[in-house]
């Protein structure tokens, strides 16, 4: 069982997706931090110390694959579970290339969102 705080960082440039995810996850007891691009990615992550990261495939400026690869190759951030989410139907192979831990295809059911985020949180480290 994970005893850390439920802190999640969301990287997605769509305002509505940001507000939907924030609304749903805050209701579920999460502390949410949202970014619309990858500027200062690693610094933001090490400052906020999330227990889960949600990463969109088309995030400006570098794209989700590259951003996830950076997270997974940085000592301080590589153990944080990353959930890859995208409307791209090749999401599974994209998530694999990125080195993400899980993936969530868009459109998603709100319960699916809560479920996968909690699964990532409780996943054995």
């Amino acid at each position: 069982m994970n005893t850390a705080a439920k802190r999640i960082m969301i990287f997605d440039d769509d305002d509505d997706i940001q507000s939907i995810c924030t609304y749903i996850l805050e209701q579920d007891g999460w502390q949410v931090s949202v970014y619309g691009n990858c500027a200062g990615l690693i610094d933001h992550i090490t400052a906020f110390k999330p227990s889960v990261i949600l990463m969109d495939n088309w995030i400006p400026d570098e794209g989700g694959v590259n951003a996830t690869q950076r997270i997974k190759s940085t000592q301080d951030t590589k153990y944080i579970p990353v959930i890859y989410f995208s409307a791209n139907s090749d999401i599974e192979s994209l998530a694999k290339t990125a080195g993400a831990d899980m993936f969530l295809p868009k459109p998603f059911d709100l319960d699916e969102l809560k479920e996968i985020v909690n699964k990532a949180f409780h996943r054995p480290q």
Binding site: D14, D16, I17, I24, N88, E92, P107, L110
Partner: protein
């Protein structure tokens, strides 16, 4: 230069042509026989030297105007890697023959230019040159070799025009598919948002009245339809690009089918589903793609049959290591013509065009997915009494 004649320099036969054509142009211009011969000799010497080295040289003969005076001119263009020196006899000799001789080396090719100034007494003008040019264009071939050569040139030109047209149409096709791919992706984001807000409204803490609740359900159903259409467009563009990808995994097929039928019972509440499965087997499938196949076939079964009728899903094993899945409805059935064409892209039967909406994408994609699983798909149907769609998939080799 105003070109009058062009000859590709490929072999010795072209030497003869070069000589004869040079003589002829000089003759038509009214030059003396001595000058005709000088010019033709210089041209054919250079042509010979080029032919000794390469078969892609080009000889152009024509006129150059400098203020009011004209020169008879010939250029020979050839591969830039070939260099001539005065030890090349023809190259050396030609320089002595004509008053104007120049070798230019450029990025693309090397070019030798030979010029003989024309006497003022010839009184050339653009009209006369135009007539000369036209005469040479229309002149009959000097010999059978030239005739073949001209015919080859025409064929070659036509072939390269065709190649260019093909390249253009491929490019347009690629652009179209790329557009569909990006557009479908862009369309999915608003659908995601639409579905999420609908769900949020339905799950609102304060109770909402039944009417609003039912409107929200309708929005949700329509969003799902929109999503399916967008997904199909995306799939078609992937099929055309040849990059529909599969994540094959081994699954217990009966569990998989039971789960799919359970979902479809929920989505299609007005039909009764009957199942009759053979013993469980393992198959290698892409679960999401196979789900798409079943959703399409069961969805069609419901779409083209009346409410409260039944849809049966059964499986049988064949000796060839295949499992056959059969989906039977009690619907309107289809004509023999339709059964032949129903798996074609964008095909829609005439009799359902007005009664049932659709774009004719579903069965095309379904058949592609089944084929890519090394299976087969076919349909049996009787008009007025229903259809049975069958498809096969190979059993996993480990089972």
């Amino acid at each position: 230069m105003i070109k009058v004649v062009s000859i590709s320099l490929e072999n010795e036969m072209d030497l003869v042509l070069s000589h004869k054509r040079s003589m002829k142009v000089a003759e038509r211009l009214g030059l003396t026989v001595a000058t005709q011969t000088t010019f033709a000799t210089a041209v054919s010497e250079i042509a010979r030297t080029v032919i000794e080295h390469t078969d892609d040289g080009i000889l152009d003969i024509g006129l150059e105007q400098s203020k009011t005076r004209y020169s008879l001119m010939a250029t020979v263009t050839f591969n830039k890697d070939i260099r001539f020196t005065n030890s090349d006899a023809g190259f050396y000799y030609a320089q002595k023959l004509v008053p104007g001789f120049d070798l230019a080396e450029t990025e693309a090719a090397n070019m030798i230019t030979m010029k003989i100034g024309l006497p003022r007494s010839l009184k050339l003008d653009p009209v006369k040159i135009g007539i000369l040019k036209k005469d040479f264009e229309e002149e009959l071939p000097l010999n059978p070799y030239e005739e073949i050569k001209l015919r080859n040139m025409t064929l070659h030109r036509q072939a390269s025009e065709k190649d260019e047209a093909l390249r253009q149409s491929r490019l347009i096709d690629e652009k179209k598919n790329e557009f569909i791919s990006i557009a479908s992706h862009e369309l999915k984001t608003p659908i995601t948002v639409l579905k999420a807000y609908t769900q949020m409204a339905k799950a609102h803490k304060e109770p909402i009245n039944e009417h609003v609740q039912s409107l929200l359900t309708k929005i949700d159903v329509q969003s799902n339809k929109l999503l399916t259409l967008v997904q199909q467009l995306l799939d078609i563009s992937k099929i055309e690009n040849g990059n529909l990808q599969y994540n094959m995994k081994e699954v217990s097929f009966n569990d998989f089918l039971h789960a799919q039928v359970a979902i479809m019972r929920h989505i299609l509440p007005y039909h009764t589903f009957k199942t009759n499965f053979c013993d469980d087997v393992k198959v290698m499938i892409d679960g999401l793609r196979m789900e798409q196949v079943l959703a399409n076939l069961l969805g069609n079964a419901a779409k083209y049959s009346d409410r409260n009728t039944s849809i049966s899903v059964s499986t049988t094993l064949s000796e060839e290591g295949m499992i056959t899945i059969s989906i039977t409805d009690q619907g309107r059935g289809m004509s023999a013509e339709t059964t032949h064409s129903v798996f074609e892209k964008f095909y829609r039967a005439k009799d359902v065009l007005k009664s049932h909406t659709g774009l004719g994408m579903g069965l095309y994609i379904t058949s592609k997915i089944v084929n890519d699983h090394n299976g087969k798909i076919w349909v049996e149907s009787t008009e007025g009494s229903g259809s049975t769609f069958h498809f096969t998939i190979p059993l996993s080799t480990t089972s």
